[in-house]
Symmetry: C2
């Protein structure tokens, strides 16, 4: 990942800035995420010179104690790569829930 | 916006692809979003040649009937621009809620 990488996911209070902060966030959860299968839906790459954007939806599944597989989360994902000193490296990730069911509805309606 | 623009927000079932689909999504909500004030928090630009990424957090406020201002939503935002035929144009947006309070917790824990 690039030194200046930036990152959003639904568990962060604010954007995470920089590889040091990213590593500090990832370390305590390394190996803690358990998903049995996922579907990556309709990945698309948009390339603009030395930058490329990969977007997709992702559904994660986990086999329940009764042996039945259940979808446990569904995601929007944007991953941005840049060619820096000749190497493609990640410079930004944004993960969010698809249509989260909120406890309290957000209304910006007129 | 670019013809090949892509888009995520918390209200979409899947990624929106292309300017025609974007306009179809935006048309019915044009003028319907009412926010009295917002704070754009810590905007950052990362530029890689002909592509640039703008990220920020945003808090929207609305004055309640009793005259008191209240935060009504808080956002993570990623906006990607590319220089296409010499003009900077938007090629991707991803908007998501900061730490949404879900009705049902998502667990991918081991």
């Amino acid at each position: 990942m690039a030194r200046g990488v930036t990152y959003f996911d639904p568990f962060q209070e604010r954007r995470i800035d920089g590889d040091t902060a990213m590593r500090a966030m990832l370390e305590p959860i390394a190996g803690q995420i358990k998903v049995d299968r996922y579907d990556m839906i309709d990945p698309r790459v948009q390339q603009y010179g030395d930058a490329a954007l990969l977007t997709f939806n992702l559904i994660s599944y986990r086999t329940q104690p009764n042996g039945v597989e259940a979808a446990i989360s569904s995601w929007n994902a944007s991953e941005i790569y840049a060619r820096i000193d000749g190497r493609w490296t990640i410079v930004h990730s944004h993960w969010s829930f698809i249509k989260p069911e909120l406890k309290q509805a957000v209304s910006e309606g007129a």
